[in-house]
């Protein structure tokens, strides 16, 4: 027997490639195929019927789908920006602290240990209109007399979900930006101060460009699992009330498992996969660019 000689890196990467191909790429190809069929779980033979792009057409002309799509993009935009700003603020606060930094850093990582399911459940508990901490606190402080229906009113529910999402992921940004702050050389900051920069100018033109790659690493990590919002939403509202918090992912899950329309759900899933991949590639390239800029300037 003769094997073609494989180079060392190929050999080392082979197990990873095999596993990823078997568990992720192949199933995805299969689901790509089934998105062109009217496959229903209840009618297994329907997998062999080819209907072309009809699923995609019906998805793309579906109002509910676009509503969910828009809501997902809105949620991600608000949540990611808020996480970025709050994370930056938190990192600067902790960085300024003169004592107890170790303890503060540990506390800061607290939300990262929570599984998204736990985050969802915990905020469902806190935002409960009847026995939740938030309403209890507001009422005890006399700020409001009646219970605010946090998870029952459509707009408030989306707001509550954003709060939960931001709470759980801000620490990713904070931790990584703090790492950047700690690794930063002090001379440029001092030089800027000597040259008469205001604190804002120092931050804007010296500190911030240096922190950029760290912020983008955080963004890349977050974009790798933006879909963790699925768990949170699933637990907190399950897409309700009246589909006012339905995101792309919960819609996919509902179409696939409750309505058993796998073919249609796969077509939707493909659109959501493209969205995630777009996010990831975008931030990955930003990361590379920011890295190069830093490399050129320092």
């Amino acid at each position: 027997m003769k094997f073609p000689k494989l180079s060392a890196p190929t050999l080392l990467l082979l197990p990873a490639i095999i596993v990823l191909a078997a568990v992720i790429v192949l199933p995805l190809l299969f689901s790509l195929y089934s998105s062109f069929t009217p496959f229903r779980l209840t009618k297994p033979e329907s997998i062999w019927v080819f209907i072309g792009v009809r699923n995609y057409v019906s998805v793309l002309t579906n109002y509910e789908f676009w509503a969910a799509f828009g809501r997902t993009v809105l949620l991600l935009t608000i949540a990611l920006n808020a996480e970025m700003f709050l994370g930056l603020g938190l990192a600067m606060l902790v960085n300024k602290a003169t004592r107890g930094q170790r303890i503060l850093r540990t506390l800061m990582m607290f939300p990262m240990m929570f599984s998204p399911v736990l985050v969802g459940f915990q905020f469902k508990f806190l935002f409960n209109d009847n026995i939740g901490f938030i309403n209890n606190a507001l009422q005890s402080l006399g700020l409001t007399t009646n219970a605010i229906p946090w998870l029952i009113d459509g707009n408030l529910a989306l707001f509550s979900i954003i709060i939960a999402e931001v709470w759980s992921s801000t620490s990713v940004f904070a931790i990584l930006i703090l790492a950047g702050l700690l690794a930063m050389p002090q001379e440029p900051v001092e030089a800027a101060r000597v040259d008469g920069c205001t604190p804002w100018q120092t931050f804007r033109y010296v500190t911030w460009p240096y922190l950029m790659p760290f912020a983008f690493i955080a963004m890349t990590i977050r974009s790798l699992d933006v879909a963790r919002a699925y768990d949170i939403v699933k637990i907190m509202t399950d897409g309700g009330p009246a589909k006012r918090t339905e995101l792309l992912w919960t819609l996919v899950g509902r179409t696939a498992y409750s309505d058993a329309r796998m073919g249609l759900a796969n077509a939707m899933a493909y659109i959501s996969i493209l969205l995630s991949i777009l996010f990831t590639v975008y931030f990955f390239r930003k990361l590379a660019a920011a890295r190069q800029q830093i490399g050129a300037e320092w």
């Binding site: 060392a8 890196p9 190929t10 080392l12 990467l13 197990p15 990873a16 596993v19 990823l20 078997a22 568990v23 995805l28 689901s31 089934s34 606060l93 902790v94 540990t106 506390l107 800061m108 607290f110 990262m112 240990m113 599984s115 399911v117 736990l118 459940f121 915990q122 905020f123 508990f125 009847n130 026995i131 005890s140 620490s171 990584l176 790492a179 950047g180 790659p213 760290f214 990590i221 974009s223 790798l224 933006v226 879909a227 768990d231 699933k234 637990i235 992912w249 919960t250 996919v252 498992y257 796998m262 796969n266 493909y270 996969i273 995630s276 991949i277 990831t280 590639v281 490399g295 320092w298």
Partner: protein, 288 residues
């Protein structure tokens, strides 16, 4: 007031503001978790009380006793879920680490064509949302007949963890200077020996933290587990948490207690790796 003392006053104010800001931020971060712990120790009557009872009067471990005692409260088999979670998470972590070490070493030490492309490709597989992946996996696994088994979940979690493990381990191997392994080889080690006796021990702590990270991902995963696991055979804790909700009522106290049980291993493990995790992720942030 002269300029000096007004400056000093301003500084003091800033210091106080900084302290208050920090305190508030930490309060927001820690409050929800502490509230869960507190609620798990209180009787249901007190949780449900209207007007709210702020100072707990009746603290007990009843919820935990009910959960782990026999069939448990409401017949939720927490022990089985716990066992499933442990088996699935530990096995998948070990396999993912072995595969990740091989991959990470390849990225850190070799130059080959399309390196960054392959790396990005690996990362993109991680970007596929769990729920989207669960549809084809559900169909295939149902056909093969491994729905609701440990094997299916382990397989999935290995694939889920490999990309990130490679990213982390790649970073840790790069921090080990290349010269060390080369020196060992000059002294008569084979490449294999040089790896195990020089590079592996130096990257060891980092690899351990990559392992803990992989463990936590499997421990916490929900979207896929909720579709692939069906019964006591393979249900994990995050899926089990939903057993406490029924159509109209939620057993808040029981849920809080289970949440605490879930969070304790995660808390301890994250605490151990925090330093290595950040350095592994950010290595090469500046040097490229």
């Amino acid at each position: 007031m002269d300029k000096n003392s007004s400056h000093r006053l301003k500084r003091r104010w800033l210091k106080v503001a900084h302290f208050i800001g920090l305190f508030l931020a930490m309060l927001v971060i820690c409050m929800p978790g502490l509230w869960i712990v507190l609620s798990s120790l209180r009787p249901t009557v007190e949780i449900m009380a209207k007007p709210p009872v702020w100072i707990p009067r009746d603290i007990s471990l009843d919820a935990y006793r009910a959960m782990f005692g026999g069939a448990g409260q409401g017949g939720i088999p927490v022990w089985e879920y716990f066992r499933n979670s442990l088996i699935i998470s530990i096995t998948s972590t070990i396999i993912a680490l072995i595969i990740g070490m091989a991959g990470g070493y390849a990225f850190a030490r070799y130059k080959f064509k399309g390196k960054s492309g392959v790396f990005l490709g690996f990362m993109l597989t991680r970007a596929v949302p769990g729920i989207a992946l669960s549809l084809p996996l559900f169909m295939i696994f149902a056909r093969v007949g491994i729905i609701d088994t440990h094997f299916a979940m382990i397989l999935i979690y290995v694939a889920l963890n490999v990309p990130f493990t490679i990213w982390l381990i790649d970073g840790f191997f790069r921090q080990v200077p290349k010269d060390l392994a080369e020196a060992a080889q000059i002294d008569g080690c084979t490449r294999w020996q040089a790896f195990w006796q020089v590079e592996f021990p130096l990257a060891g702590p980092g690899i351990a933290s990559a392992g803990i990270f992989a463990f936590l991902t499997s421990w916490n995963e929900y979207a896929l587990a909720s579709q692939i696991t069906r019964s006591v055979n393979s249900k994990t804790l995050p899926v089990g948490l939903l057993d406490y909700t029924s159509e109209f009522t939620i057993d808040w106290r029981g849920m809080c207690a289970l949440a605490v049980v879930m969070i304790i291993p995660a808390l301890t493990l994250t605490f151990i790796i925090q330093k290595h995790l950040v350095s592994g992720l950010t290595f090469g942030a500046v040097k490229g």
